[in-house]
């Protein structure tokens, strides 16, 4: 026992000497806290001043009136097609087709977007770029997909069975009294199973979003490098009045 104490003291002495000499440190205690940034903390004035011109510029751009909506535009106001859905799909067709044509020489045959991708109503009154951010907050780009005839039929089957008003443009779908496909017209021509179609949609859906699995059979995918939101903003700038209507692009004979 006595020997053990002797060894212990010697050990302590060595450690003590080496620690004083080398000045090495040892971690002895750690404390931690998550600190909430609440409104009781005052703002640093210089930071606030620095941000101000950046913020003002954003507000100026976002809140400047681009167009006018005589009525509220919603994705819930129709069963098979809606004012908001028709507006979005028509915008994609109108804004993307010239770019696609210029790059490939081909024409977009029709547009399919997803109902869930419309994130806000467009309220009656002035329409701004902020409206476009509310409707489309995601960084989704337009893409044009080449689908075979059978793949297009799969797309139509999906659309019908989803029982949702997914936005479409450039085609007409008519269902019979039983809810089965009666006629399918694409670009004012009867659907032809033996040809391929150019379908404008979003890169999100091409990558399997919203279970649109038929896009995995895409023969080609052409990115348009055009954000949906930017297409919306460009369209708002182009027109004075935004007044989409529920029409006969997709309906059921009831």
């Amino acid at each position: 026992m006595f020997l053990k104490i002797q060894q212990f003291v010697l050990f302590v002495t060595i450690i003590m000497l080496s620690s004083c000499k080398e000045k090495r440190s040892e971690l002895i205690e750690i404390t931690a806290a998550q600190v909430s940034i609440t409104d009781t903390i005052t703002k640093t004035e210089s930071i606030e001043t620095f941000v101000l011109p950046y913020r003002n510029r954003i507000y100026e751009v976002l809140d400047s009136v681009l167009a006018f909506a005589p009525n509220t535009i919603s994705k819930e106001d129709g069963r098979y097609n809606t004012t908001a859905g028709n507006l979005m799909a028509d915008i994609v067709m109108e804004q993307a087709n010239p770019i696609f044509k210029l790059r490939t020489g081909n024409q977009i045959d029709f547009v399919l977007l997803n109902h869930g991708g419309i994130r806000s109503v467009i309220s009656q009154g002035p329409v701004t770029a902020r409206t476009a951010y509310e409707v489309m907050p995601f960084e989704n780009n337009i893409a044009v997909v080449e689908l075979s005839g059978p793949s297009v039929l799969e797309l139509i089957t999906y659309l019908i069975s989803s029982k949702r008003a997914h936005p479409i443009a450039g085609m007409q779908i008519v269902l019979d009294q039983k809810g089965q496909l009666k006629t399918l017209t694409i670009g004012n021509k009867e659907f032809n199973k033996n040809r391929n179609y150019w379908v404008a949609t979003t890169d999100y859906l091409v990558n399997g979003g919203d279970s649109m699995v038929f896009f995995k059979d895409a023969l080609t995918v052409t990115p348009i490098d055009y954000l949906i939101r930017n297409a919306i903003i460009d369209y708002f700038k182009k027109v004075d009045t935004i007044a989409p209507i529920i029409d006969d692009r997709y309906y059921s004979l009831e």
Binding site: V12, I15, M16, S18, S19, C20, E22, K23, R24, S25, E26, L27, I28, E29, I30, T31, A32, A33, Q34, V35, S36, I37, T38, D39, T40, I41, T42, K43, T44, E45, S46, I47, E48, F50, V51, Y54, R55, R57, I58, V61, L62, Y133, E139, D203, P223
Partner: protein, 303 residues
Amino acid sequence: MKRRTFLKNLSASGTLAGLGGLSLESCVNPYRKHITILHTNDVHSHIDAFPKDHSQFPGLGGLARRATLVEQIRSENPNTLLFDAGDIFQGTPYFNFYGGELEFKLMSKLKYDAATIGNHDFDNGIDGLHAQLPHANFELLSANYDFTNTVLDGFVKPYRTYLLDGIKIGVYGLGIQLKGLVTQELYKETQYLDPYDVAYDCERILKKQEQCDMIICLSHLGYQYQQEDRPNDLELASKTKYTNLFIGGHTHTFLDKPTVVKNNADDHVLVNQVGCFGVHLGRIDFYFDALKNSTSKGTHITV
């Protein structure tokens, strides 16, 4: 200000505590050193505070307030480092309008020391990130992204060290697998390396070659995953030997307190993450004493 604390004494040895007291008294200049680590993650361009009527984060966040808090903590302890664990970009029109310029300028004004790169930091492409680098007076650290064939080659370091009050602090960065998360046109030729292997290398170099007194990992791997078997901070912490603190991101995980994990050397280490959007600031205080015994496991962790 909200501080949730409870005492967790992970030291068991009374003998060692006594030993410490003894050697302390015998030294001519006994010292106790204090390093404060502050951190954010996934701020996603949230420069302004949330409005008071916001459903999830009413009145919380805001960079001008974070600046006040950081400055206050720095005046209390000048030996403070400030880090971010990635996804600085994307989430408000500030990013859409200015491409990350304002985020980097403000982080520089707050004197951030380093940040790692999150997947959303590639949202304007690797060229978009490169273009904002002149606005960053802080280091971008990523050890497992190989930028050799990209514009970022030479601009991102795997790790670096800081010397504060004689305490050497090593910090390395880790990023998440980009394939499947970011389109390749954005990250281009960036190569993703296994984060675990890279972490073992980094911490060994920082401990053995650089002789660091403490080691921090800035990780954008994610706290943990319920479904998939993907690299994550909790597993990483359990597999490493020398890293004392993992500052995480990506999963937007709000923790009431940092998680204590037993690492591969049977030491207790911390994994922390402060949710997202700059509504919280993580604060970890490290206290050092003169070296008493290299095998001592006497670190008290109070979280």
